[in-house]
Symmetry: C2
Subunit: 236 residues, 2 copies
């Protein structure tokens, strides 16, 4: 599956309202992968017993991964309490970035600008050695592209303490909102103010660990510049 493949929303991942905010077609898949690349964390939903548990997780995507539609890898501690309930079960992985507060003239039309990807699929425990190593590298590179290649290999103990789940990207949807408020004509005529407060992720100064003697590596410098450029674009 490439970035040119269309999204494949199903009833489970298709919004029952605001369908104009859903993205299909080739551009939809590229936008989905861009969001999944940019967002630092995902929220994983798992049914544990009779109720859902939603937790933030580190993740990465491999559009060419072995699962239908490509693979979304979720990273977890092997000691995580919800892990047993997730492997082999249908899970939901949701990735949301908030882009702004939309302040309308009525409470009803208040909204947010955002990008939200919802992926629903059967979670597969990643057990094969090469796929585990690949998924771990992708998870580190999701945080700072290129960084995995600069680090030592994980030890057996570290590998044993790490769990990886693979979720197919086949059943995925992207929903976004952008732009200003949409008000009732009578509220506009009444003359009140309305507008948008843009929000974006900003990067502070890199803080070296107190015991770090080496200079900040090139991959980290490059990524911070990339994050700042992205924030600049969002700030307008």
């Amino acid at each position: 599956m490439t970035t040119d493949a269309p999204l494949s929303p199903t009833p489970r991942t298709t919004a029952t309202r605001s369908r104009h905010r859903m993205h299909g077609g080739p551009g939809g898949r590229a936008a989905l992968l861009q969001l999944l690349t940019e967002a630092p964390v995902a929220h994983l939903g798992v049914v544990v017993g009779d109720h859902p548990v939603v937790l933030p997780v580190a993740f990465a995507v491999d559009p060419e991964g072995p699962d239908e539609g490509g693979t979304l890898y979720v990273h977890a501690s092997a000691a995580a309490g919800w892990l047993g309930a997730a492997a082999g079960a249908t899970v939901c992985v949701t990735v949301t970035e908030v882009d702004g507060l939309v302040l309308a003239r009525s409470g009803f039309h208040h909204s947010m600008n955002y990008r939200c990807a919802v992926v629903i699929g059967r979670a597969r425990a990643v057990t094969e050695g090469r796929e585990r190593a690949h998924a771990l590298d992708l998870t580190v590179d999701h945080v700072v592209p290129g960084r995995a290649a600069t680090l030592r290999a994980p030890t057996r103990r570290e590998l044993a303490a790490t769990a990886l789940l693979a979720v197919p990207l086949a059943e995925a949807s992207l929903k976004t909102r952008a732009g200003g408020p949409v008000d009732e004509p009578e509220d506009v005529a009444a003359g009140g103010w309305a507008g948008t407060v843009p929000l974006h992720r900003m990067v502070g100064e890199v803080e070296a660990a107190t015991d770090a003697v080496a200079p900040v590596p090139d991959d980290v410098v490059a990524h911070v510049e990339r994050l700042r450029a992205r924030a600049g674009e969002r700030a307008g």
Copy 2:
């Protein structure tokens, strides 16, 4: 229940690992409420049929609300497909703010700095008129404090199109990570770099709607200043 009441984590909301990152006691409840006040969106998990659905939602908290431990209100469209599955069922509301990328000398010790609140409880549909009006005001004031009082009242049609769920704050946990990477002694001795990339939400320039003639209201100006001050504190 006041902000001085301790958090009441149960096995469902207690981490099975990294317990040192869990917050209990009076300060824990204050920190929980602060996160729930600051974060723009929550992720709501609902079991729909045999699988979980996780979606970003607008929300607000009333520490003095009628539910045990206070009330977390979730705002939704009455047309939302998952709503029927949520009312009366146990749901999970998770609120996460990412504060930084933690870049260790090994892939294994890579992490994030974050604050994460998890609330699990039985969702109650809010049907009584005064509580609905109160919850709607809180939801608008969650976006911009004080704004609800400056807007007209919702119409009958708008009220009919809006659904509100109440979730007790009784069963809530807060987990946070802050600070630099924790590396293996042999990796520190090897001399590689490690550090933290701080992240925070930043506010762009307020964009007035194209049809807005009134000046930006005081409550919006004050809130943008508040958000900028908070971002400045996080940037250090």
